[in-house]
Structures are given as structure tokens and as C-alpha cells.
């Protein structure tokens, strides 16, 4: 069942259902980017607020999952930009992204440790593929690349990780 059209009509049940379906992926994607479990909690909630507010503008040319992932990714970058009080180009990924910054001891963020040698763009595509579980086409739509370019960047990133192991 497509939930966003219902959310656009003001259906809070549908919003809750969507939250239950997507919260883990969304939270982990944001946690990957921010490296801050507390910030990730807040940004996750802000993501679903944006989803509700912008549900009317959702169109069917991208999956609901990818659309929500795009919002989560943008908000996560935004939160890091605000934290650093820096003005950076809107198209750039903040250089403090994908680094462990503030997590409690129980939280497992080994994933971030594994990809620490990659560039920000490479980490970006790895997270969208591995954590958010998106298709090449969806990753391309979010990052402004073609599906093929996304796949190639992902492959190059794996090659780079392999060479470091």
C-alpha cells in the first residue's frame, strides 16, 4: 500500500505506519552520515515531519523509500553544516560527515570504521546502497548521477576498500 498519498491527505495513521516501516533504515542512514546517535534520533524525527509536510509534492517517479532516504540524507548533511557553523556549498558533502562523533558505548558503528578510508562521495554511495538498500537508479536520482555512474562509483569504492584490507 502506498502511504504517502494518504499522508498527504492528513492521515496520521499512515504516517505512523510509514514510520514503523522505515524508521530503522532512516535512522541508520542518518547515523552513518552524522556519526552521532543522539543527533540521529532528532534528525530521524525531523525527517518524518518533512515527509508529512512534503507528502503532497511526492510523485510516483521515485519510490517512497528512496524519496524518504533523500530527505533523511539532506537533513543529516544540514545538521552537520549547522553544527560546524560553516557556510559550504549546497552541493557539497560536509567534511565532518561519516565520522564517529558522539555515540554511546553500546552502539555498534563498526560500519563507519570500515569505510573511513573512502572519500565523502564514496561513503555517500556506499551508505545509500548498503544502509538504505536503494537501487542504482534511486541512488542516481538522489545524488544527481546516472544509475550507471552510481554503480561505477560503488564498485570503485569496494575496490578501494579491498586494496586497504
Amino acid at each position: 500500500m502506498k502511504l504517502l498519498p494518504k499522508i498527504a491527505k492528513g492521515d496520521l495513521y499512515a504516517l505512523e505506519l510509514l514510520y514503523e516501516q522505515q524508521k530503522i533504515k532512516v535512522y541508520r542512514l542518518i547515523l552513518s552520515i552524522t556519526g552521532d546517535s543522539f543527533l540521529a534520533e532528532d534528525v530521524t524525527q525531523e525527517t518524518f515531519l518533512r515527509v508529512q509536510n512534503q507528502a503532497q509534492s511526492y510523485r510516483k517517479d521515485i519510490s517512497e523509500t528512496a524519496w524518504i532516504a533523500a530527505i533523511a540524507r539532506n537533513l543529516a548533511y544540514d545538521s552537520l553544516r549547522r553544527r560546524r557553523y560553516e557556510t559550504v556549498g549546497m552541493e557539497t558533502i560536509p567534511d565532518n560527515a561519516f565520522t564517529v562523533q558522539n555515540v554511546d558505548e553500546q552502539s555498534n558503528v563498526e560500519f563507519l570504521d570500515l569505510i573511513k578510508e573512502l572519500s565523502q562521495q564514496e561513503k555517500d554511495v556506499i551508505c545509500l546502497r548498503i544502509v538504505a538498500d536503494l537501487s542504482w537508479k534511486e541512488i542516481g536520482q538522489i545524488t544527481g548521477q546516472s544509475a550507471d555512474a552510481s554503480r561505477k562509483r560503488y564498485t570503485r569504492s569496494l575496490e578501494k576498500l579491498r586494496s586497504h584490507m
Binding site: T44, Q45, S57
Partner: protein, 518 residues
């Protein structure tokens, strides 16, 4: 092969570690900010009226807990208070499944079946419809509900529903192709970290095709979710969809969206379905005082438009644009003397009152501020700490439901506070303090639905429709068939409350339509 194997190993390791990442601990707050935006959206929704059909009396297997209510006004030095009590009669609404009762007239048309149509008393009725196809409900300008089914192939069929009679409508499909090319677009939109200035963007002509049916003066667009997608250079993408305008029998709105997944910028055009002419009623409007603008939408009267606009993305407010004079108006600004250090809720556009809270981590208080008198009136004080939502402290003990109403949870009771009437507090007897209770006002703010859901489910096990003018409430328990999952409740018009459901096994779709006659 080795290379592939090693890649695969790395990928597996990444996936494994990703799977061990922590999960969020907070639940979804149906927060005040969310509700505020909900209110704005409801306020901009086209006004709907309703034609009250002459319902036939059918076999009543559903017995409702008709609710009487008494309203008692109590004296208070500062605030008036009221108590609404709901009296139930102890029977349960049995939601019917597809099998018709023996003495019930066959009501299957096409893929749509009217399972039951029940008049409960002169003021309340319920109808139950099902379809194996996608099923939705529309309300026409005349107020008559139309059921609409859509097959997987996109074939759309409409059914009128009046006097308890279901009728499949034989309507011709019309198609029109038109060319849309905006001269200029106002505003910069920033959303989720992405910003775009469209003022200097050269847009290509876009060819659009609309498919619709005409039912009297009503335009029925075949696929309400259909979009046309196009590219603008290498950077921007655009989409269009069509929207009917209330009261217009030959003109529709073309919603022109740029970078829909990022900025969500929308700009409206008008398309005349008779002549094929495309017009831009906002082309002469001076938006220079509103650099950030979004959600532009034209009203059905074609004389006014509305938008959310401001100096930045964080400063948006609703504006109204007079398309004849070009004048733009917004809600009056407040003086800034409000001593709020926490949440502020503005009343509907034009109001001179605010609701706000102050407090510490130990307690919080809610007030109404009147800009005319520059005085605040205390509504309530909580002794519970705020919960933090982002950087915004949110009280867990009240909920904004829009239109100047809030729900206040106090110990073991629930009250409705009418901010428009100085904080008139009405105790809702029988409504539990629970996360499983949802409140949803109709657009006209005349009837409040209160849905008490099953634990860990979206199924409504008790439904209350409270008429705020008369304080009369319909309050009944409900019994759903097994395997049925409800997932949408909404107001279709002022007097029509709808619940959509689906059988998880057969995938049959259901609409339960409750109609109230004032």
C-alpha cells in the same frame, strides 16, 4: 572470479556491520509542529458541501451506540468550563463482510459492491462498499459522493451513490494535449539543504496530455496521481499534474513542480479544457517582498491564490494573493512581547491571538495571548517535564488539533480546549488517556472525530464523532471481521467520515462511509 569474490566479501561484511547498527529509541511524535502544518493544509483545502441523500432503510445488523450528551457550564473566575458526557447503549457495530444479507437487494455494479447501506436514525447512516480493485471516494461540487475504482491497467470507473442506490456512470473519456511554457518563476526555495533560485531559469515548453471524464459540471480527472515528467538542462527536473478547481466546469489547475524530490517547488497554471488555452494568472504579481515561496495554489474562484511564503524557508507563513489587484496579504505580525520561551501556536490567519507555553524542565504552563489587550490568560500548568523533539521542547500533555483547538490530557481525563472562545474547556468523559487515541477535526471545524484504536494496530475499536456546535456525540464500539486491516481515517466532507480498510488475505478494498445529517 577472485576479484568478484573479494568484492562480495567486502560487501557482505559491510552489510553485516550495517545490520548491527543501533535502532532508534524514540517513537514518532505526532507533534505540535506537525499538527500546525496539518492545520494550514486543512485551511487551504477546498471547501466541500454535502447533499444529504434520502437513505433507504436496510436491514440493520449494525446497531450504533447513539450518544446523548449533556453540556454543563461551570463558573470559573477566569475560564469557562464544560463537560460533555457520552452515554453509550452497549451494542457494537458489526462491520459486514462481502456476503449480502438474504433480503438485501443486489448492489454490485462493475467491480464495486455495496455491501450494506444502513440508516441508523434520522441523523446518522453508514454505508459499506468493497472492490477487488483500487477504491476511493470523491465528493462532487454538489456534495454527492462518487465511488471510484481503478484497475491495475489504469481503467477508471465512477459510480454515483444517492438515495442508497449505486449506479455505474457511463462517461466518455476526453483527452487534450496542451503546451505549457512559463515566462518566469518567482522565489527561491530551500528544502532539506538544497536551494534553488528559479527566477533566471529558462524553461522549455512542456507538452502535457490530460485525460478526463465530464459528469455534469464536474471534471473527473482519470488518474489523480498521474504526472508528466521532463528535464530542464542537466540540473533540474520538472513534473506536472492536474488538479480540479471547485466550481470550475472547464478549467483545471496545472501544478508545475520543479525538482520535486528536493525543493518541492510548485507553480500553478490554468488550462481551459474547452479551448486548450494555458494561462498564468500569477505572471503580473510582484513577489519581490517574498523571496522564498512555495505551495502556490489557485482558488476555485480564480480571483485569489494562496501560498506559503517568507524571507527564508524557516519563516514561511500563509499569504493570500488577489489575482485582480495583485495585492498580497498575510496574517498580521505580533509585537514580540509574548513571553513565550517554548512552543508558540498561532491562531488561524487574521486572528490576533496566540497560544504559547512557558516552562522549565520541571513544569510548563499554557497561555492565550491577546494582541489587542497585550494580556495573557493562563490555561493550564503541567508539572511534568518536557520531552525534547529536536531543539523544540514538546509537552506530552497537550496536542494541537488545528483550528484553534487543543486536546489536554490531565491525570486520567481528556479535555478539549477551544482557544477561539478564550479557552473553553470541555471534559471528554469516557475518552481514555492513551497514545492509541487520535483526534481529527473536519475542515469546517464543526465535528471532531475521536478514534480509539486497538493496541499496536490502526483498527478503530471505538469511534466518536462529536458535533462541536451541539455537543452531541455519536459514540460506538466496532467489531471488525478477521483479516481486515484499517489504515486510513479521514473527513471526505463536512458530514462524511470515511474509513478505508483492506482484507490482508484477499486484498479486497473497503470503504466505510459514515454520514451525519445536521
Amino acid at each position: 572470479m577472485i576479484r568478484f569474490h573479494k568484492f562480495n566479501s567486502i560487501e557482505v561484511k559491510l552489510r553485516q556491520t550495517a545490520d548491527f547498527m543501533p535502532e532508534p529509541t524514540k517513537g514518532l511524535p505526532i507533534s505540535d509542529a506537525m499538527e500546525e502544518r496539518q492545520k494550514d493544509r486543512r485551511n487551504t483545502a477546498p471547501h466541500k458541501q454535502r447533499h444529504v441523500p434520502d437513505w433507504r432503510t436496510a436491514v440493520i445488523v449494525l446497531v450504533i451506540l447513539a450518544a446523548g450528551s449533556t453540556t454543563v457550564l461551570a463558573a470559573s473566575p477566569k475560564l469557562r468550563a464544560a463537560i460533555a458526557q457520552f452515554f453509550s447503549f452497549g451494542t457494537v457495530e458489526e462491520i459486514p463482510v462481502d456476503e449480502l444479507e438474504e433480503d438485501m437487494e443486489e448492489q454490485t455494479k462493475g467491480s464495486l459492491t455495496l455491501i450494506q447501506d444502513v440508516t441508523l436514525d434520522p441523523h446518522f447512516s453508514a454505508a459499506y462498499a468493497s472492490s477487488s480493485e483500487s477504491l476511493s471516494l470523491l465528493t462532487t461540487s454538489s456534495g454527492m459522493p462518487l465511488f471510484c475504482t481503478q484497475s491495475e491497467k489504469g481503467e477508471t470507473v465512477y459510480y454515483s451513490f444517492a438515495g442508497g442506490i449505486l449506479k455505474e456512470l457511463a462517461l466518455d473519456t476526453h483527452r487534450l494535449t496542451a503546451l505549457v511554457q512559463p515566462d518566469k518563476l518567482p522565489g527561491i526555495m530551500s528544502y532539506g539543504g538544497e536551494a534553488a533560485d528559479y527566477s533566471n531559469l529558462v524553461l522549455p515548453p512542456v507538452e502535457l496530455t490530460i485525460s478526463w471524464k465530464q459528469y455534469g459540471s464536474e471534471i473527473l480527472i482519470d488518474d489523480l496521481e498521474s504526472t508528466e515528467r521532463f528535464s530542464i538542462g542537466d540540473i533540474h527536473d520538472g513534473q506536472c499534474y492536474f488538479k480540479t478547481l471547485r466550481g470550475q466546469s472547464e478549467i483545471v489547475e496545472v501544478c508545475f513542480i520543479l525538482d520535486g524530490q528536493l525543493t518541492g517547488y510548485e507553480y500553478p497554471f490554468l488550462l481551459n479544457l474547452t479551448t486548450g488555452e494555458v494561462s498564468d494568472p500569477l505572471s503580473d504579481i510582484d513577489f519581490s517582498a517574498w523571496p522564498c515561496i512555495t505551495e502556490l495554489s489557485i482558488d476555485g474562484n480564480l480571483h485569489t491564490a494562496t501560498a506559503m511564503a517568507g524571507s527564508s524557508h524557516n519563516d514561511l507563513q500563509k499569504i493570500t494573493i488577489d489575482l485582480i489587484t495583485g495585492k498580497i496579504t498575510a496574517a498580521p505580525k505580533f509585537s514580540g512581547k509574548v513571553p513565550a520561551d517554548n512552543y508558540i501556536l498561532s491562531f488561524p490567519v487574521g486572528s490576533r491571538k496566540l497560544f504559547y507555553t512557558t516552562g522549565t524542565e520541571e513544569s510548563s504552563s499554557g497561555y492565550i495571548y491577546d494582541a489587542e489587550t497585550e494580556k495573557s490568560t493562563l490555561l493550564f500548568t503541567d508539572t511534568a517535564a518536557y520531552s525534547m523533539w529536536g531543539e523544540v521542547p514538546v509537552s506530552r500533555y497537550w496536542e494541537d488539533i488545528g483550528y484553534g483547538y487543543i486536546i489536554y490530557f490531565e491525570n486520567d481525563s481528556v479535555s478539549l480546549i477551544n482557544l477561539n472562545e478564550g479557552g473553553l474547556k470541555t471534559k471528554l468523559e469516557g475518552i481514555p488517556v492513551s497514545r492509541n487515541v487520535s483526534f481529527f477535526m473536519n475542515d469546517e471545524s464543526t465535528i471532531l472525530s475521536i478514534s480509539i484504536r486497538e493496541e499496536d494496530s490502526f483498527n478503530t475499536e471505538k469511534l466518536c464523532l462529536l458535533n462541536l456546535k451541539t455537543m452531541k456525540a455519536w459514540y460506538f464500539e466496532r467489531n471488525l471481521p478477521s483479516e481486515t486491516v484499517e489504515w486510513t481515517n479521514y473527513w471526505n466532507s463536512e458530514y462524511e467520515y470515511v474509513i478505508e480498510a483492506q482484507n490482508e488475505v484477499t486484498q479486497t478494498n473497503y470503504i466505510y462511509l459514515y454520514q451525519y445529517t445536521p
